[in-house]
Symmetry: C2
Subunit: 237 residues, 2 copies
């Protein structure tokens, strides 16, 4: 998932930082990004900023229009649905490959994680981090931890849509309960039950999105080739 090996480079820092800002919606969908502004703001030259934007563009999180400008891509309903399909397919298939004997270390991690999810309280961002780790660790149980990276790379649009959902009234506690039930079914060796609960959970997350879209249409891309507006300035720090 990482693009570089070991060494700390400013490009890597900036890439991760910008990515985080986009995924957490601190950089709003549709916001204009200027390589020059970002470079000045971050105290580096255009080069590492530009290379970071290129990577984000490949992930679909940013759109770069040559000679026009770069923009945080609007949440694309089609891409959200694609990511949902991909995620569901992979996570459900992963459950089929659970070993007879679960790695007790990972199970312990999952239980700790669940406990922290319960205590997370109103901090949505913390819950999201835990949620991400939970699903990744579930895949590690069946030896497919690395495949999570491919899912994670493709689900940027889905994550942003989910954050829009959680900014609303839906409580993380509901999801934490669903997580608990999934893990319980797994440790009981009830694979079909785990599948069913996992599917219900993922679809519950997904079903919120249409509701959000009705409420905040400006954050979604209506047209694939939506017109970018340069002048909307970014104030992100």
């Amino acid at each position: 998932m990482a693009q570089s090996n070991g060494r700390r480079t400013s490009r890597r820092d900036i890439y991760l930082r910008l990515r985080q800002l986009v995924l957490t919606l601190e950089l709003a969908p549709g916001a204009a990004l200027s390589e020059n502004e970002l470079a000045a703001s971050l105290g580096v030259s255009r080069t590492p900023v530009r290379e970071s934007l290129i990577l984000l563009a490949q992930e679909g999180l940013v759109q770069v229009f040559p000679k026009i400008g770069s923009f945080v891509s609007r949440v694309d309903a089609a891409q959200v649905a694609d990511a949902q399909f991909l995620r569901e397919a992979v996570e459900l298939a992963s459950l089929e490959d659970l070993p007879e004997r679960l790695d007790p270390e990972i199970v312990e991690e999952l239980r700790d994680n669940l406990e922290r999810q319960r205590r997370a309280g109103p901090d949505r961002e913390e819950f999201f981090t835990l949620d991400e780790l939970f699903h990744r660790d579930l895949m590690r149980l069946s030896g497919h931890g690395n495949s999570w990276a491919a899912v994670a790379a493709a689900k940027g649009h889905l994550d942003r849509a989910r954050r829009l959902g959680l900014h609303g009234h839906e409580s993380p506690a509901v999801f934490a309960d669903q997580h608990h039930e999934i893990l319980a079914a797994i440790t009981d060796g009830d694979t079909p039950g785990a599948r069913a609960r996992m599917r219900d959970h993922l679809r519950a997350v997904f079903n919120d999105i249409e509701r959000i879209r009705a409420r905040s249409p400006e954050l979604f891309a209506s047209d694939p080739a939506t017109v970018p507006v340069r002048r909307s300035v970014v104030v992100w720090e």
Copy 2:
């Protein structure tokens, strides 16, 4: 899947060209890539070459070691297995979403494709192109054509391993027959049958790889942090 919009840029050309060379094994796994050499060879400056390599690195097809060098990544058995799992999960799940009434246009395309697979003869590269299109069109049948891009992005290592396999004695005709059976089951409305044949097909492809690995271990990464050797020069044109 593409990283840029519309406009033709030399980066896009170079990226696609290098990617093709890596996937077709014309650039051998482990080969050293020099930004300067490539730039001179392609008649451009380092910038577009470098940016292309960064993208390929993010896909896992190239490894960039700062201040040391860039190398075509060796085929990683673990990544091949990951891609296989991902692909199987997604393609099988896609079959579950087949509509009652199949799009006749896509079915026609698939039949044409099969016919051309039969006629492909000894040209492995042509067969690979057709194979790729066949699987993508199958996913289009259930409306998940776009998700194919995510799979395609993750299966670079798998594709290279498959090419190593087809360079051996395995005949494309066997795979063409399997493709035919899959499509037949789909058009018969026999989803379970299609699933079974699809799984057998994908695993048949996968099972060749271990055999190849025994025969050509130097193309595979033994250690995750394999030592790169700079001096192995590339002669690719």
